[in-house]
C-alpha cells in the first residue's frame, strides 16, 4: 500500500514526560485519517513533528515516501496545515494574511479569492483579523492550509470554535477533498463523533502511544452488540445457561450474551423457559464507539 505519511518509532519527551513514544503512524493515500485521542495524548506534538516545527528525539518520519529530515522543503511545499489554535497576523486583513503566505508559496493571486470562497469568508476578506470571531479565524486557517493546493492536508482540531452549521460545512468540505482534489487528509480531534462522521481510517493515541490503527469499519466491529436478559433467580438461570454450554456473563443480576446470533438468543430463551425461569426482559445493548474508545484508553492506562 502507498503510504502518504509513515512514522517509525517516533518519540518526543518534554523533561521527564513522554509526550510521544514509539509512535507508528501509517496513512494510506486518499484516506481521511482521524487522529483521535484525549487532550494531552500527544496529537499536536506528533503533528508538529510531522511539519518539522519540532524535532523528534528519535524515530523517522516519511511523507510522500521521502525522509522529512532530508527533503523538508520539497515535502512542505505539498502539505497544507492548520496547527492547534489558528495562526494569523492580527494587524492584517484576511486577504493580506493569505497574501503574506502566497508571496512565499508562489501560487497565483486568484487562489486567494478561491480559498476565501471555499471557507465563505469572501464578505469579510477586507476586515482585520483582530476583530474576527474564533470561528472566522478557524475558517481563515483552513483557507490558508488550502492555499497551495496541497496533496496532504493536516488539520489539528479543525472544527474548534465553529458553530454547528459551520461544523457541518467544514465536515462536508473535508469529506469532499479526497475525491475532488485527490488529497489525503489528517484530522485530529478529541471528539470521537467528529472523527466517526468524517474519517475513513482511524488512529487512536493515548499517552503518546498508538493503541489502535485501522479502518473505521474495523473499529466499528468492536461495537458489536450483546444481548441482556433480565430473569428471575438470575444466579441459577446463569448456571443453567452455562450448563447448556452457552457463553454468558452475569453482572448485578443481569445475564449478558455476548455476540450471539438471533438463533442462539432464541435457544437461550427457550432453554431458560424450559427450566422454569421467568424471562422479564430481553434487551440489546449496543456499545457506542464512545464506549469502545473509553475502554481502549482505560485499558491502556491500566496496562
Amino acid at each position: 500500500m502507498e503510504y502518504i505519511v509513515r512514522t517509525e518509532n517516533l518519540s518526543k519527551h518534554f523533561g521527564k514526560e513522554k509526550a510521544v513514544s514509539g509512535l507508528e503512524m501509517k496513512i494510506p493515500k486518499g484516506e481521511i485519517y482521524g487522529f483521535l485521542g484525549p487532550n494531552g495524548a500527544g496529537k499536536t506534538t506528533t503533528i508538529r513533528m510531522l511539519l518539522g516545527l519540532m524535532k523528534p528525539d528519535s524515530g523517522r518520519i516519511e511523507i510522500f515516501q521521502k525522509d522529512l529530515k532530508k527533503e523538508r522543503l520539497n515535502i512542505l511545499g505539498r502539505v497544507g496545515s492548520l496547527v492547534e489554535s489558528p495562526s494569523y497576523y492580527p494587524h492584517l486583513t484576511a486577504k493580506e494574511n493569505l497574501e503574506a503566505m502566497r508571496k512565499i508559496l508562489g501560487v497565483p493571486k486568484q487562489r486567494i479569492a478561491e480559498v476565501l470562497e471555499i471557507v465563505r469568508l469572501t464578505d469579510a476578506c477586507d476586515k482585520k483579523v483582530k476583530g474576527f470571531s474564533l470561528g472566522m479565524k478557524q475558517r481563515l486557517g483552513i483557507a490558508a492550509s488550502l492555499l497551495n493546493n496541497p496533496e496532504l492536508l493536516i488539520l489539528d482540531e479543525p472544527t474548534n470554535g465553529l458553530d454547528p452549521s459551520g461544523i457541518i460545512e467544514i465536515r462536508n468540505l473535508i469529506k469532499s477533498l479526497p475525491s475532488e482534489c485527490g488529497m489525503t487528509v489528517l484530522i485530529s480531534s478529541h471528539l470521537l463523533s467528529e472523527i466517526d462522521q468524517m474519517a475513513t481510517t482511524v488512529g487512536i493515541v493515548t499517552k503518546g502511544k498508538m493503541i489502535f490503527q485501522d479502518s473505521i469499519e474495523a473499529m466499528r466491529m468492536f461495537s458489536q452488540q450483546s444481548v441482556l436478559l433480565k430473569v428471575s433467580e438470575s444466579d441459577k438461570a446463569w448456571r443453567s445457561l452455562l450448563g447448556r454450554g452457552m457463553k454468558a456473563g452475569l453482572d448485578s443480576g443481569i445475564i449478558s450474551l455476548p455476540q450471539q446470533s438471533d438463533e442462539q438468543v432464541a435457544e437461550a430463551v427457550r432453554g431458560l423457559v424450559a427450566d422454569g425461569f421467568s424471562v422479564y426482559r430481553v434487551e440489546e445493548e449496543k456499545r457506542s464507539l464512545e464506549d469502545i474508545f473509553l475502554q481502549m484508553t482505560r485499558e491502556e492506562q491500566a496496562g
Binding site: R48, L51, G52, L53, M54, K55, R72, L73, N74, I75, L76, G77, V79, S81, V83, E84, S85, P86, S87, Y88, Y89, P90, H91, L92, E96, E99, A100, M101, K103, I104, L105, G106, A144
Partner: protein, 243 residues
C-alpha cells in the same frame, strides 16, 4: 529568499512603522538646528561641527535603541498569534527566515541613516552653513554608522526571536546602550564596546586614511567579530526553537 523578504516587508509595511523611522532623524534635526555652531566656526568645516552636535543624541542613544525596536517589531506579529508556526510550516528554511528578517531590519536602518543625512543637510541649510558639503560625511559617517549597527541588529533579533514580550529585548538593549556613554570616553573600553561603535564610526575624525572613521582592525575584529557571534547565536537558537 527574495520571496521571504517580500513577504516580511509586506507584513511589516502594514504595521505603522513610518513614525518610528522618522523619530531619529527628527531628533538629529532638532539637535542640529539648536546647535551653537557659529561660535566655533572657522576651526574646521562647519558641516563637521554640525555633524558632531547632531551625532551626539542620534548615534549614542537613538541609533542603537532603534535597532532593538525594529527587531522587536519584525518579531512581534509572529509571537502574537502563532505566526511562527504558520511561517515555518511553509516550504522555507529557518535560516532563510532569520536572514530575511535580519536583512529587512538592516534596510530599514539604512533608510533611517539616509533620512538622517537629509536631516544634516536640512539643518545646515537652516543654519546657513557656507562651507562646501563634505561628501565624505555620506559614506564615512552615514554608511559607517550603518555598518556599526550590524552586530547590534543581530543581537536584538536574537533576543526578539527568543522573548515573546516587547519589554525584555528592549531592556537588554537599554542596559547595554546606556554604558556606551561611559565606554566611548574610555580609550581602553571604547574601541571594543559594540554599542559605542555607531558613535565611533559616525564621529568625524581627522583623516586616518582608512575607509571609515575607525581603523580597519577595529572594524573587522570588534564589529565583524561581534556580528558573527550574535548572528550565529541567534541563528542557532532559531534553528532549535520549538514552535
Amino acid at each position: 529568499m527574495l520571496s521571504i523578504l517580500k513577504s516580511e516587508w509586506f507584513k511589516l509595511r502594514k504595521s505603522k512603522i513610518f513614525g518610528i523611522l522618522l523619530v531619529g532623524p527628527l531628533i538629529g534635526l532638532g539637535a542640529g538646528i539648536g546647535a551653537d555652531a557659529v561660535e566655533t566656526a572657522g576651526a574646521m568645516n562647519e558641516w563637521y561641527m554640525l555633524l558632531i552636535y547632531m551625532n551626539l543624541p542620534y548615534s549614542v542613544l537613538f541609533l542603537p535603541l532603534v535597532t532593538g525596536v525594529l527587531a522587536s517589531l519584525v518579531c512581534r506579529y509572529e509571537h502574537q498569534s502563532g505566526g511562527w508556526k504558520q511561517v515555518l510550516a511553509l516550504p522555507v528554511t529557518r535560516g532563510k527566515v532569520f536572514a530575511a528578517k535580519y536583512v529587512l531590519i538592516l534596510l530599514l536602518v539604512l533608510f533611517i541613516q539616509l533620512l538622517y543625512l537629509a536631516a544634516i543637510f536640512g539643518a545646515g541649510l537652516y543654519k546657513g552653513v557656507a562651507d562646501p558639503f563634505p561628501a565624505a560625511i555620506i559614506w564615512k559617517s552615514i554608511l559607517g554608522g550603518w555598518v556599526a549597527t550590524f552586530p547590534l541588529v543581530a543581537l536584538q533579533l536574537w533576543m526578539s526571536v527568543w522573548f515573546k514580550s516587547f519589554a525584555a529585548p528592549f531592556a537588554v538593549n537599554v542596559v547595554f546602550t546606556l554604558p556606551s556613554i561611559l565606554a566611548m570616553n574610555s580609550e581602553k573600553v571604547g574601541p571594543y564596546y559594540p554599542w559605542a561603535q555607531p558613535f565611533a564610526m559616525m564621529y568625524p575624525a581627522t583623516d586616518t586614511g582608512d575607509i571609515f572613521f575607525i581603523p580597519w582592525e577595529q572594524l573587522l575584529t570588534v564589529i565583524g567579530g561581534f556580528f558573527l557571534l550574535f548572528y550565529l547565536g541567534g541563528y542557532f537558537y532559531f534553528q532549535r526553537k520549538a514552535v
